[in-house]
């Protein structure tokens, strides 16, 4: 186990060096679908983090019992359970948000970030590493969604989290809150981050 990253490394890696969206390009369905508003994006990030954390903990606890050919079944079962719980909780305590997110909460079940973290980290490392990995990746996911949502909501509606920011004269680029806006924003931000990274590594 000496070649596995430590819990602290796992935590830091999730935020930027191995960011699930900008570095691993995983979980792009919610990234494109629910980033037309900051509130939805943050709720989605919270839901994914909770599911990821619970799934990582359970998988880490039972990692020594896993049969290699049945591990994906166990991961999916665990993830589906926690997603359903989160979905019900949202419907009970954040009804409007649950309506706004619609099918994208149940779709967390097939979000590859979680299955990837179960496979890469939780099924190989202990509780502490699995937990800090989940939180690190969750923060990384949240920051990425927020970065896209800020651009889209601001340009598309002139508001942030539903509060008007830009003057009323702003023409509201409707395309930014429509699906094409998601692809445009994500592509440009990804390019920007790659460019910054290249410039930095050229300097070093």
């Amino acid at each position: 186990m000496s070649d596995q990253p430590t819990p602290t490394e796992r935590f830091i890696q999730g935020i930027l060096p191995e960011n699930p969206i900008y570095r691993q390009l995983l979980g792009l369905c919610p990234t494109l679908a629910v980033t037309n508003g900051l509130k939805q994006a943050l709720t989605m990030a919270g839901a994914v983090t909770v599911v990821l954390f619970c799934a990582n903990i359970i998988v880490s606890l039972i990692r020594n019992l896993l049969k290699p050919h049945l591990r994906i079944v166990v991961f999916t079962l665990t993830i589906a359970t926690f997603v359903t719980i989160v979905d019900r909780f949202l419907a009970a305590y954040m009804y409007q948000m649950s309506k706004a997110l619609g099918p994208y909460i149940p779709l967390i079940i097939v979000n590859c970030i979680i299955i990837c973290r179960c496979e890469v980290c939780a099924s190989k490392q202990g509780l502490l590493a699995a937990g800090s990995d989940a939180i690190g990746q969750g923060i990384g996911f949240g920051l990425s969604l927020a970065s896209i949502a800020v651009v889209r909501e601001l340009l598309g509606t002139g508001a942030l989290a539903g509060v008007a920011v830009l003057p009323a004269a702003w023409p509201q680029w409707v395309i930014m809150v429509l699906p094409p806006g998601a692809f445009l924003t994500f592509g440009l931000l990804l390019g920007l981050i790659n460019w910054l990274q290249q410039r930095q590594s050229a300097k070093g």
Binding site: K67, L70, V74, T81, Y93, Y95
Partner: protein, 218 residues
């Protein structure tokens, strides 16, 4: 090592059921956990849905809602025949001081993107539309979803029900016209058609004494 020992143990250890004991056990645990969550939360979720509807009801009858304690909202149903098929509307009788002030009807139909669900408020004799609210819609953001805005749905308030409403582009003249949303004529038409169909179905069946309304025991 392990594989050789399991091979010698024969069929028992290799049987699929034995190998999957962890999956089966987890499925059982998770299943019970989910059942417990559902039992805990299902009432709250149902209540949320009902509250969302009930909250809107007074505003669909009166411009300025009277004090809540003087208003009685009674849920019920009304059976109608649509193209030879019997169906029923969910509706709410809204009364103030035991006098029926109007009716709020839940109506649904196809929109541009997905199903639309509306609440239509009418006065006691279904002579006038008193309000419209969009409960559920997945129309295009920025275009069709403007049907939820008070500015647009407010056009329905006060319209007489004698003639079906008509959607016009630009600013319509006349008492029975609804201005289409720019870029979302289909969404505008869908909402208007649902309202027209609902009113046609309800007309003559409801009056201040109740008509064919049947109360639903809760």
């Amino acid at each position: 090592m392990e594989s050789s020992s399991s091979q010698s143990a024969g069929g028992f250890k290799n049987s699929n059921l034995v190998q999957a004991w962890l999956v089966l056990l987890l499925a059982l645990c998770f299943g019970s956990a989910l059942a417990a969550v559902q039992v805990q939360l299902s009432d709250t979720i149902a209540e949320n849905k009902l509250n969302e509807t009930l909250e809107q009801v007074p505003a669909l009858i009166w411009n300025e809602a009277p004090a809540p304690e003087t208003v009685q909202i009674t849920p019920g149903t009304l059976s109608v025949e649509k193209q030879g098929q019997a169906s029923s509307y969910t509706l709410y009788r809204v009364a103030k001081d035991d006098k029926v002030a109007g009716w709020v009807v839940k109506a649904g139909g196809q929109g541009y993107a997905d199903k639309l669900e509306l609440l239509v408020g009418v006065d006691a004799d279904v002579r006038k539309i008193t309000g419209l609210f969009v409960l559920e819609q997945k129309e295009t953001p920025g275009l069709g979803n403007k049907v939820i805005e008070p500015d647009w749905r407010g056009q329905f308030t006060g319209k007489a029900t004698e003639t079906p409403l008509e959607v016009v582009k630009g600013h319509g003249e006349g008492p029975a016209t609804i201005d289409a949303i720019t870029g979302a004529t289909i969404s505008s038409r869908s909402v208007t058609n649902i309202v027209n169909a609902t009113i046609a179905n309800l007309k003559g069946k409801l009056d201040a004494s109740g008509g064919q309304f049947s109360e639903r025991s809760q």
